[in-house]
Symmetry: C2
Subunit: 368 residues, 2 copies
DNA sequence: TTGTATGCGTTATCAT
DNA sequence: ATGATAACGCATACAA
């Protein structure tokens, strides 16, 4: 008659297949199934084959929730970024996602929207989701770090990237921003520029502070004087870049180069220079910072500093996985510093360069 | 002597606090804790207060894995996108993430890297993670849809966005691409253009097919002839845009406008026109599609079609949550179509327009 | 209003 | 080489 109960769950049954189903079907215990699927040595090859075949037939998907609950460890990683727009964070996240997937992890992304309170809620959500580790790029408004201590106390691996807590007792992957501004400044010096201005960012953010330092170091290295007039602090907007350039061009002795701590600001400066009929780079050379997409599109294209977004993401995952896998055997926190890369483009490369100022570079050691 | 066992777990104990811990501490049952925390009506207000206070004190975070396992439903949503770079997908994901967070869900992001096999693995990973629903934008190379049927069979809510399966039996949120190209073409007509070229994309992709249709509809509407010479099929790269423009400008009767199905391609065309000394928009007017970031930065800025990225993300989540919450009571699949928006910028807006071709628009009904 | 007991799907321990 | 059983943390049917 009508078959009842014996009918195996059809692949289209609606309810996911569990190990118990497979065990019943094969007339073995769940233990055997579990071991066969995780390739345990104690299971015979023919049994393994049978189990795997059946699993494929029913399209068995392990319930990772149950697995994680039992093992106390999930295959999820948490990411908190200030926002996910523009070029930088999507690229880093891309790098993270790629590396994480390769290692068998999935990734939960949260945005803090530059809000410390939201960041705190993100942490709680990730703790609740039982992630195996957390990667954070700090929100601008974060001043208390208690929510991160809670993470540490739980023994949950935590790695900062790009925007990190100060100090040596955290794991972090950051760009050497100072080096970035330094090589940009050096490049401008090599182009023969002698009055190099700086568009600086908000100094309470480490990255901008470091870029400012790199600029100063570059001047010192070349034996150039620091002129307060040529340093403007901005919020790194295109508009402010244009405004600063306008003022500079009105000076009796305007700059012959601008080293900007950000691309948008550099773009504004560039556009203003052209509006005023000052040629770029021959009248004023310009460098940006971040390698935003538009820097190859603007005319002229803008020399800038690449922040190694993909590498940053990958390095962050590598460090996090090390922490996860070395469970318990805590090792000393590490800071990984990535070398920025100078992308020379039209906005700063001059055809005719003056003779290299011999001896200037040699003065570096003495100057420090 | 030394206190043993009675010592409450310090907030920095290392192991997360569970309901059992709270129950022990208060001398009540886990049931009471569970109910108090989920605000069950049967628990007295003073008890609730006590429990909540203790939970706060110990920084209790519910284990969502356990909860989801027990309830059979998690608070996770899965997203699969082809990639997470450029402007479009990050923006949509941003919209999704915002809406999902507001509704108390977290989001797992997977990239298919335009690879159907990877997309299939993504689906499996999300099934394994017991997500409550899945949002997909199809990879270019996806031709079989069996992995999605598996999702449907499990009764798991599934919503496509932007790149959807054909047909009416799927839930999807898409942009009206045809309308987008149509309003772009209309705009060019209104600027007095009469020989309007089209940079078309790969026609096996619905979005490009629809944009092509919109362009044709626009011509028909204005009573303009279709000239095969003025239609070029490309992969939408900047380079191809430049190449197409070069060929067009070499024609005895070159176009006076270009309606491109993508911004990069439009940019290439624009740059080539300027290289050849043809003024934009007065020599040739140009429109793009996608509102890429660089369209406001190029000179002149590029008229383009905004794809309502944020709205698309939000609409996708809304639809998905409806499906999730109407658990079981399946309703008919819905397609939500978003209206694109024309962003008029310098590359197409002419100072002096010829007299509007009276009657042309009225001919629309007759022409179809 | 509160408590007891059970199970979600998996894995680890201990036995055979 | 395989099986029985307990436990992970939570939610709920049922009892009191």
């Amino acid at each position: 008659m009508a078959p009842r109960k014996k009918t195996p769950a059809a692949p289209s049954s609606g309810t996911p297949v569990s190990m118990a189903d497979l065990a019943r079907e094969l007339g073995v215990s769940m233990t055997t199934i579990s071991r066969a699927l995780s390739n345990h040595y104690s299971i015979g090859p023919e049994m393994k084959a049978k189990v795997q075949k059946l699993a494929k037939k029913y399209n068995y998907q392990p319930n990772r929730l149950a697995s994680a609950l039992r093992k106390g460890k999930s295959k999820l990683l948490g990411i908190i970024v200030p926002y996910i727009e523009g070029r930088f964070f999507p690229s880093v996240v891309h790098g993270i996602e790629t590396a994480a997937t390769k290692a068998g992890y999935n990734v939960i992304i949260c945005q803090s929207h530059e809000d410390a309170a939201q960041e705190r809620r993100n942490i709680e959500a990730l703790l609740s989701a039982q992630v195996a580790g957390i990667m954070v790029s700090l929100s601008r408004t974060t001043t208390s770090y208690r929510h991160f201590e809670e993470v540490q106390n739980r023994g949950l691996p935590l790695v900062f990237f790009d925007r990190s807590m100060e100090g040596e007792d955290v794991n972090a992957v950051v760009l050497d921003d100072q080096e970035g501004a330094l090589i940009a400044t050096r490049h401008l010096v090599a182009q023969g520029c002698r009055r190099i201005a700086h568009l600086a960012g908000p100094q309470h953010l480490t990255i901008y502070k470091n870029r400012y330092r790199g600029y100063l170091e570059g001047l010192r290295e070349a034996g150039l004087p620091v002129d307060e007039e040529l340093i403007v602090f901005t919020d790194m907007t295109q508009l402010e870049g244009a405004g600063a350039m306008r003022n500079w061009l009105a000076l009796p002795n305007p700059p012959d180069a601008v080293c900007s701590a950000g691309d948008y600001c550099a773009l504004g400066a560039l556009q203003e220079a052209r509006r005023q009929g000052v040629p770029v780079p021959d009248g004023v050379a310009i460098t940006g910072f971040s390698n935003e997409a538009f820097t190859v599109i603007s005319e002229p294209s803008i020399t800038t500093i690449d922040q190694r977004c993909e590498e940053m993401g990958q390095a962050t995952v590598r460090l996090l996985l090390e922490l996860i896998e070395s469970h318990g055997t805590a090792f000393a926190p590490r800071q990984i510093v990535l070398r920025p890369e100078l992308l020379m483009r039209s906005s700063s490369v001059r055809e005719a360069k003056p003779a290299a100022p011999a001896g200037k570079r040699a003065a570096k050691t003495a100057a420090r």
